[in-house]
């Protein structure tokens, strides 16, 4: 009954979201609609969608599993994921005011050689998105075997393809409007499901947190289950160097988590779906509230799973602990709750991958096609068509890669995506907004330097080769035991690659003889702080009037990019 119910609930979710997708298809006309949902979402709606984009299956299932198996250290992930939002809160209004649809809009605003900057931004957006996508889709394949109990290869492939196909449908047809509603529904479901689980767990212990922790610690049998050190920064007796490396690795992870969020493409593209900067601030505040409450609840999920299910049972189902939340659901509410939580997990994956595909196809169509190939003057209808097409291509690419990598443990890709976002995108964003001398060579050097460093360091790290289980002799890396070319000791590149990204951006600027236009910087700083001339939501007019009277936005006309950025178009209410 369990799997059938999960399946029914999931089909229900898909049916509802498909209806929304077709509604969105009928209401999507130009680039503003396709990329930014017409900039008509309220702060609260966009806040829910931001939270929906952010709370991936990796955090729902993964963190609960890490807490259940390694104790306190899973909570360190939760904290990093939340604290990062403060940086986002500080940047969101500036980026909303200065940009139009993508990060590249902000980066290229004040520089001379736009195509180079746009191309670099596209490269990093697509790379980060594809790595993150891959982690999520492979996770979907693993989830089906946990839920339905079938671990056949075919089941995994079918799941990956099905999730991928749905994601392509949402993004291709519905654009930002459909994707945002998918996120909102998913965020409500996920918050609801997690709250139900948390309340049920706590009620088992008379709502006494201390009792729950005590039961979890007793059940785990570890002495230090409630203290840091179970998983990150392990102390190796008699090997101070190894201990230090482990601790640096942990600090490196913490750095990437806290600095990566503000540069994640699917988060950045959501800044532009609200009418103005104030609504963008409201939406990030909503996201902070939702994400904070959610990550606090992961404590109850993880420790509750240890206390009520037991570590042996969790590890038996999945050695990485990804099944902990599902097993907890079964222990608390039987097959019905398991089915519900399973459907929520699928919805979670589906929503996150849609957001990622949308962000990367937006970047390809708007930045690469629109600004590099068409010199900033494509027809709006052309650009949307290219966006739809590239979402299909990226979706198929992700499906293909995920099917190939379906047996690998690719959870490290999430941390890698954060590290790449922090080392490639963050320096470019921050320096563009705040450094007068920053120029296009700096942007390009910073993006490629940060991106290259993080990928290279991971390839040379124990994640890819050379990490061997000392007891069984099995390989813990991506490549089989015996292959060993790891040079870099840390598994998380952030500690090196983030400063390196900043350094490249600064050196690239200082070493080039490119002149900067000081007025362009003044313009950016005036616009980003005051919102003068920003792209607003169209004033509340009926669609028909807008289409008839809106000379500037009607599809099919030449894309009035220049006039749009400089004169407020159709926005002054």
């Amino acid at each position: 009954m369990g799997p059938a119910l999960t399946f029914t609930l999931f089909i229900l979710f898909i049916a509802i979201t498909l209806v929304i997708t077709f509604w969105a298809r009928a209401n999507t006309r130009g680039t503003d609609d396709y990329y930014a949902g017409g900039r008509a979402f309220s702060g609260a709606q966009n806040g829910l969608a931001l939270a929906g984009d952010y709370m991936s299956a990796a955090s729902f299932l993964g963190i609960a599993g890490i807490i259940a198996l390694s104790g306190y250290d899973g909570f360190l992930y939760s904290i990093g994921f939340l604290v990062a939002w403060l940086l986002t809160l500080l940047l969101v209004e500036l980026m909303r005011n200065a940009g139009r649809f993508t990060m590249a809009d902000v980066l290229s605003y004040r520089v001379r050689r736009q195509p180079r900057v746009r191309t670099a931004a596209v490269a990093s957006t697509v790379t980060v998105s594809v790595f993150y996508l891959l982690a999520q889709m492979v996770g979907a394949g693993a989830l089906v075997s946990l839920l339905l109990g079938v671990s056949t290869d075919t089941a995994k492939i079918v799941t990956i393809v099905a999730v991928g196909a749905m994601m392509i449908v949402y993004v291709m047809f519905g654009g930002m409007k459909a994707t945002t509603w998918v996120q909102i529904i998913k965020a409500v479901l996920l918050m609801g499901g997690t709250t139900v689980l948390t309340v049920m767990v706590l009620s088992r212990f008379g709502f006494n947190l201390s009792d729950m922790l005590g039961a979890a610690a007793r059940n785990s049998g570890h002495a230090g289950f409630l203290q840091p050190g179970g998983r990150f920064g392990k102390e190796v007796a008699g090997d101070p160097l190894r201990t230090l490396v482990n601790k640096l690795d942990f600090i490196s992870l913490a750095l990437a988590l806290v600095l990566g969020t503000a540069g994640l493409p699917h988060i950045v593209s959501r800044f532009f779906t609200v009418p103005d900067a104030r609504a963008a601030r409201t939406s990030v505040n909503w996201a902070i509230g939702l994400v904070g409450v959610f990550y606090l609840m992961t404590l109850a999920l993880g420790f509750g799973a240890t206390a009520l299910v037991g570590q042996d049972a969790i590890a038996a189902q999945d050695p990485a602990g990804n099944a902990a939340a599902l097993q907890l659901a079964r222990a608390l509410g039987g097959d019905v709750l398991l089915a519900f939580i399973g459907a929520v997990a699928f919805a979670t994956i589906l929503a996150v991958v849609s957001g990622l595909v949308l962000a990367s196809s937006t970047s390809l169509a708007h930045d690469y096609f629109g600004h590099v190939l068409m010199f900033g003057r494509p027809r709006e209808s052309q650009e949307v068509a290219v966006a739809r097409f590239s979402s299909c291509v990226i979706g198929l690419l992700a499906i293909g890669l995920a099917v190939i990598a379906r047996h690998q443990n690719v959870a490290f890709l999430v941390a890698l995506a954060f590290a790449m976002a922090a080392s490639a995108n963050l320096p470019a964003i921050v320096l563009s907004l705040f450094w007068r001398r920053f120029n296009s060579s700096g942007v390009v050097a910073g993006i490629y330097g940060g991106l290259g460093a993080s990928v290279l360091l991971v390839v040379l790290s124990p994640v890819v080769s050379g990490k061997v289980d000392p007891v069984s002799g099995r390989s813990l890396s991506l490549l089989p035991a015996g292959v060993n070319f790891h040079v870099f000791p840390l598994e998380n590149p952030g500690l090196v690659s983030i400063p390196f990204g900043f350094l490249c951006a600064v050196l690239g600027t200082l070493l080039s003889d490119e002149k900067v236009d000081p007025e362009r910087y003044q313009e950016l700083s005036v616009r980003s702080l005051t919102g003068t001339g920003s792209h607003r939501a169209p004033a509340r007019r009926s669609r028909r009037r807008r289409r008839d009277g809106g000379k500037k936005t009607a599809t099919g006309l030449r894309h009035p990019e220049g006039t749009q950025t400089d004169t407020p178009q159709g926005d002054s209410p």
């Binding site: 904290i79 736009q114 922790l213 407020p568």
Partner: protein, 149 residues
């Protein structure tokens, strides 16, 4: 290409430089920078203090506070509390000290922009009237095209 190349279509040179020199804008910028630096310093400092304690001061973190709740858990939950508090503080400050200034500047800029556009339209119209010449027979098609634009 794109936006950078087409500025001439919108604001004239010096327009934004003038705004950037405005006292109110400089006040706005100073306030924002001060606020942002304060918030970044406090949350990053506090977060990395917590991370450092988790990595290097484990005996301290393991100390029990109430029942099974130890220092590590307490500090972890305090990270949540501080995040909420800083977000609230930023939003309150922005609402009170930044929004009124930016709104004022934005509205003034929009008004000036509208005035400028109006003046440009007038000048263009004037140009068109002044350069009007009596119709010649062989230029009939040109006249109709002009009339439409």
């Amino acid at each position: 290409m794109g936006e950078a190349r087409h500025r001439s279509a919108g604001a004239p040179r010096g327009w934004y430089a003038g705004l950037a020199q405005d006292r109110r804008f400089r006040l706005l910028r100073t306030r924002f920078y001060r606020l942002a630096i304060g918030i970044v310093a406090s949350f990053l400092g506090w977060y990395f203090l917590y991370i450092w304690l988790s990595a290097f001061a484990r005996e301290f973190m393991a100390r029990p506070v109430v029942g099974n709740i130890n220092v590590a858990l307490l500090l972890g939950v305090l990270q949540f509390v501080s995040t909420f508090a800083l977000a609230w503080r930023y939003s309150r400050y922005a609402r009170r000290m930044l929004d009124p200034l930016s709104e004022q500047l934005r509205e003034e800029a929009a008004a000036m922009e509208a005035e400028r556009e109006h003046a440009e339209r007038l000048a263009a119209e004037r140009q068109r009237i002044e350069s009007w010449a009596p119709p010649r027979r062989n230029a009939a098609h040109r006249r109709t095209r002009e009339g439409r634009s």
